[in-house]
Amino acid sequence: MYPDQSTLIEQADLRTEKAETLSAALSASELSYRRLFETAQDGILILDAETGRVNDVNPFLIQLLGFSHGDMAGKTVGELSPFKDVVANQAMLERLQKEGYIRYENLPLETAAGRRIEVEFVSNLYQAGDKKVIQCSIRDISERKRMEHALDQSSRELQHKNAELERFLYAASHDLKSPVVTVRTFLGYLEQDMASADAGRIAKDMEFIRAAADRIAQLLDDLLEISRVGRIVNSPVLVAFRQLVDEALAAVAGQIAKRGVTVTVGDGEAELFGDRVRLAEVLQNLLDNACKFMGGQKDPRIQIGCAARGAETVFFVRDNGMGIDPRHQAKVFGLFEKLDPKAEGTGIGLSLAKRIVELHGGRIWVESAGVGQGACFYFTVPDTVNQGKPTKQGETI
């Protein structure tokens, strides 16, 4: 018995319809994958799993690397110049065959335009019909890396600041406590000495109390001053080194005259970018320090200048005073550190100078051959324009 002809035709129609639906669905699916491939905001490479050669590359990667489709098609990943020396084709293929998956966290690449970027590179091996293909996703992580780096940097800066704050608190609390101990102890003595009416001792007790109270007042002033640096910031301006020198010299003119110091200013030229008032204070403190520690020098001299040292410009204040034993040079910039306990002041000048220089991103240091050899204080301010010319022909600093 033959089946009914009309039934056969119906069945054939039904199949054709089914096939047409399937084919439509297939092309719809293909289209959507194609769109995904073409609009993806990650680079995608499709490789032949046998040879590792590029079959297809999506527009995003073309844009990212700056190479055309033609530049890349048919090449292995290792042959593509951005990946040269980074991905060895054979090694990648073997690992993919074994593990089905490779991930490079952090590949540094260079684009056609020479821009350096960092990418995350993930390869997957999978079966597509009767063939195996490799799909590589390439994500530009330069921005993330830049942020990570910035975060690292600021975390380090924060740690540094924290340590500085801790040292500051330690020094401040210890140094403030000492005169308080003095005041309270000598008040006790004063009571005893008043009871026994010992006029000589009473006068001495009062003297110790007064000196300690003065010191507390001075320490508090200095602490306030050093806390202002960095908290109250004048907007940075471009200022000539010579101008700063003139201002600083005017501020210490009294001391210079009193000590009979001959000051020479080198003819080096440079402009500094920063907080003008504070930068003048750096020089002022260095000059003040030089005047204070002239020792027995009969012909006291101070030389101020700037000069190129290597790639940077260094500013200097040199004196022919008492000098500093090399063993103690690291200590002179410490808060309330004094090499000579009998010297005037609390020992804040050089710490203040150091703080200002460091807030400008610069460095400050001292060089001295030793006691009686004079000293030279140097500092740098990174935003210095104009190379400092040597102060005099052939002079070394």
Binding site: Y170, V181, T185, H328, L339, P341
Partner: protein, 154 residues
């Protein structure tokens, strides 16, 4: 009690604190001598008998050292470390006398073999009592050998 006079080396940059120690030790002074230096470098020079401290008659080795921590030139902890690393000096008892109650200072001081750690009290009566007790302990009660470590038979 040991009748031998003891030389005390006081390393203190604060002149008023040195005066407090001096006043408190006055009663022990009949037999003992207080020598005062104001920075860490001078302390090391004194102990090593150099730079003006060369004469053992005027700069005798101390029987006890009272050492402040925050000192000009060479820090107290550095002075302590140097003393305790020196075979000729390490047997001398070093008493830290400081305003610092900081844990890190105490840890370091004992790690460098300080023999005692005293914190200067912010109170007249307490400071006086502390100095009296310290004086009795180190100058009267504490026993010292007559021989130096290098003279002692092995």
């Amino acid at each position: 009690m040991n009748g031998e006079p003891i030389v005390i080396l006081l390393v203190e940059d604060d002149l008023s604190h040195a005066e407090i120690v001096r006043r408190n030790f006055e009663k022990f002074r009949v037999a003992n001598r207080l020598i005062h230096v104001t920075d860490g470098q001078a302390a090391l020079d004194y102990l090593n008998q150099r730079n003006g401290y060369g004469d053992p008659a005027t700069s005798p080795q101390p029987g006890v050292i009272l050492l402040d921590l925050r000192l000009p030139k060479v820090d107290g902890l550095e002075v302590l470390k140097t003393i305790k690393a020196d075979p000729k000096l390490k047997a001398i008892p070093v008493v830290i006398l400081t305003t610092s109650k900081a844990e890190i200072d105490m840890v370091k001081a004992y790690a460098f073999h300080a023999n005692s750690y005293l914190v200067k009290p912010v109170d007249f009566t307490q400071f006086t009592e502390l100095m009296q007790a310290c004086g009795y302990y180190w100058l009267a009660w504490n026993q010292r050998p007559n021989l130096t470590p290098t003279q002692a038979p092995v």
